[in-house]
C-alpha cells in the first residue's frame, strides 16, 4: 500500500489506462498543459502529447458529443466536465445519445466513454457550482454511475470505468481531491456494481456514497462510543446498484438509513429506500430513513451553505431516532 491523494489516485488510473491502451484519450477544458482545475490530469499532456490530452474550447455540449462519436469508432474517450452543474449543458449528448445508441442500433454501436465530473457543496462556490445531480443520471437506462469516496476506490473504479463498454458517469467530489488514503502499489481494478462495507456493524445499516461516506464513518465511530454498532456501506457504484449487498446487510441489521448530500426530494435515497421496503419489508424493524440535502439551491455564504447538507450530528441523530 502507498498513501496518496484522491486526485493522485485518479491521475494514476488515467495514466495506467493511457499507457495500456492507445485508444484512451482525454478531452476537457484546460486539462492539458495546465493539468485541470483540480490538477487531476497534471503531467499527462507532457507524457502523452496533444493528440491524447486535448484542451477544448468552452463548448461542453459538443465536446461531449464528440466523445460519443470517438467512442463509436472504437476509442475510449474520457471527458472532463469541470463541475457537474455544467453537465446540464451536455444532457442531450448523455441522455439522448450516449445512453441510447447501443439500444437504438440494436447493439451495432457501443459507446465506451467516461464522463468525469465533480460535484458537491462546501467551498462557497454558490448555486451553480455546488450541486449534487447524480439522481439525473441514475434515472437513465443505459448509463453507469460511479461515485467513489476513497483514493483506492477512485483509482480502481476509474480504471474499470474506462475499460467498460457502456457510457459511465464518474462523479468526484470537490472536498475529496485532497483527502489521502492507502492505495495498493500493484495495479488493481475494482469492479463496477459492487458496494463495499466500509465498516461492519449489526445495529443499523448506513447506506451512502461519495463524500458522505466520510461523514457516515465519523458518525459510526461516534456511535460506537455509545455502544451502537452501525454498518456503513459505501455504494461506490450507484448504477447498477448492488442490491444484494444492501439487502443482505439490512436483513442482518433490520434498520437502514440512506444518507446523501443531494436534495432529498427525488434523490436516489428514495429509490433505495423504496427498493429495500419492497424487497425486505419483513426483515425491517421500521421505516428506512433518508438523511439528505435540503430542498434548496446552495447559497454562497458558508454558514448557510453548511446548513444545506447533512452533518455528522444529523446522521448520528438520525440513527438514534430509528433505534
Amino acid at each position: 500500500m502507498v498513501e496518496m491523494m484522491y486526485r493522485e489516485a485518479l491521475r494514476r488510473a488515467l495514466d495506467e489506462e493511457m499507457q495500456r491502451d492507445p485508444l484512451v484519450f482525454l478531452m476537457g477544458e484546460t486539462i492539458a498543459e495546465r493539468g485541470g482545475s483540480y490538477k487531476v490530469t497534471e503531467g499527462l499532456w507532457q507524457k502523452y502529447g496533444s493528440r491524447r490530452v486535448i484542451d477544448t474550447p468552452i463548448a461542453e455540449a459538443s465536446f461531449t458529443g464528440m466523445a460519443v462519436g470517438a467512442a463509436l469508432v472504437g476509442c475510449r474517450p474520457v471527458v472532463e466536465i469541470l463541475f457537474v452543474d455544467f453537465a446540464m449543458l451536455v444532457m442531450d449528448q448523455i441522455v439522448n445519445q450516449a445512453a441510447k445508441i447501443e439500444f437504438i442500433s440494436g447493439g451495432q454501436g457501443k459507446v465506451p466513454m467516461v464522463l468525469r465530473t465533480q460535484g458537491g457543496a462546501g467551498n462557497g462556490l454558490a448555486a451553480q457550482h455546488s450541486q449534487s445531480l447524480e439522481a439525473l443520471f441514475y434515472h437513465i437506462p443505459g448509463l453507469k454511475l460511479v461515485m467513489p469516496a476513497t483514493p483506492a476506490d477512485a483509482c480502481g473504479l476509474l480504471k474499470s470505468a474506462i475499460r467498460d463498454d457502456d457510457p459511465v458517469i464518474f462523479i468526484e467530489h470537490k472536498l475529496l481531491y485532497m483527502t489521502r488514503g492507502p492505495v495498493p502499489e500493484e495495479e488493481f481494478l475494482i469492479p463496477l456494481g459492487k458496494a463495499e462495507i466500509k465498516r461492519p456493524g449489526r445495529d443499523a445499516t448506513l447506506i451512502t456514497y461519495s463524500h458522505m461516506t466520510l461523514k457516515c464513518l465519523e458518525a459510526a465511530a461516534f456511535l460506537e462510543k455509545e455502544g451502537i454498532r452501525v454498518e456503513v456501506i459505501d455504494l461506490r457504484t450507484l448504477a447498477p446498484l448492488d442490491t444484494e449487498t444492501l439487502l443482505d446487510s439490512v436483513r442482518r441489521t433490520g434498520r437502514a438509513v440512506v444518507v446523501h448530500e443531494a436534495c432529498k426530494r427525488g434523490g436516489v435515497g428514495g429509490d433505495i429506500a423504496a427498493m429495500l421496503m419492497e424487497q425486505a419489508y419483513d426483515d425491517l424493524d421500521g421505516p428506512v430513513l433518508r438523511i439528505a440535502g435540503r430542498n434548496t439551491p446552495i447559497p454562497y455564504n458558508l454558514k448557510i451553505e453548511r446548513a444545506c447538507v447533512p452533518s455528522v450530528e444529523e446522521i448520528v441523530a438520525g440513527v438514534l431516532s430509528i433505534l
Binding site: 474550447p57 464528440m66 470517438a70 437504438i104 451495432q108
Partner: protein, 325 residues
Amino acid sequence: MALTPPAGDPAPIAEPILLGIYRNIYATRRFELTCIELYRQGHIRGYLHPYLGEEAVAAGACAALRPDDYIVSTHRGHGHCISKGADLSLMMAEITGKATGYCRGRGGSMHISSKQVNNLGANGIVGGGIPIAAGAAMGIMVRQTDQVVVAFFSDGASNNGVFAESLNMAGIFRLPVIFMLENNHYAVSTPIECATGCCDLAGRGPAYGVPGICVDGNDAVAVYHETLRAAGRARRGEGPTLIEAKTFRHGGHHVNDPGLYMDPQALAEWKARDPLTLMKQVIADPSKTRIIETEVESELEAAVAFALRSPEPDVAEFIAGIPEH
C-alpha cells in the same frame, strides 16, 4: 452500394462512379416511395421523413468516400444509408420494425444505422449527429488513420449551437470531417429566411476558421467533386470543410405533412431540376440506366418481401434483456 473513388485528383469522372451515383439516386427515390406506401398500409409506424428530391446530395457525397469512411445521418436518413451502401432488405426490415432489421426493430426509420457500411446512425435530435461526426473524426485523429467522416444535416440544424461549436472545434483540431449542410430551405414548415438573417449558410465556415463552399445539391456530380476535394484535404490533415448543398424537398416534412406551406413556384422550379432526371441526362445512355433500374426494382421487391415475412422482436426475449436495477 459503396463506391470507391478514383485515387488522386478529381480527374474526369469514371463511368462506374457515374452509374453508381445513378443507382443510389434511383434506389433512394424508389425506396422512399415504397416506404410511403408501406406506411399507408400500416407496416411502418412513428415518423417517416422522406428524402425525396434530395437524393443527389447523399449519392454524390458518398460516391467520393471509401467504404471505411464514416457518415453520420439525420432523421431524413434513408438516402444517406443507401448511398453508403447499406442492404435494402436489412433497412426495410428495420423500418418496418422487424427483428431482422439493422437495429433489431428497436430504432426504426429515425434511428437507422449500419455498422457494416460505417453509417454511425440517423438521429432523432436535430443537430445531434454533428458533434458525433466531429468526434468520429477526432477518433480517427487519435487512431491516426486516413479515414474521413461526412456529417449530413440540414439548414434547421445549422441554427443550433452544436453546429457552431463543432465547426469551431473541427477547425482548431483540423479534424477530417466534412460538414455537408443539405440546405433544403425548410425546417418543418419554417423557411430558412425566417430562421436566419444570413444569406449563404456556407459563410458560417469562415466565421469559425473553416472553409465554406456552396454547391448545387441537385447536381450529384458537383456534390461528388466538392466532396472528393474536401475529403482529400481532410485525408492530408488539412482539416474540415463546410459544404452547403442547396436542394429542396419534393413534399412535406414527413409522410403525413402535405407541405401546403411550401412555395409552389419554388417547388415547381426545383422539381424541374429533379436530381434523378439530371443524373439520367449525365449518363445519357438509356440502356445503362435501364439495367440499373431493373436491378434496383428486384432488390427492392426482395427487400419488401424480406421485411414483411420477417418476425417482430420477441417480447419475452426483449424483457429478459433488460437489467433489473
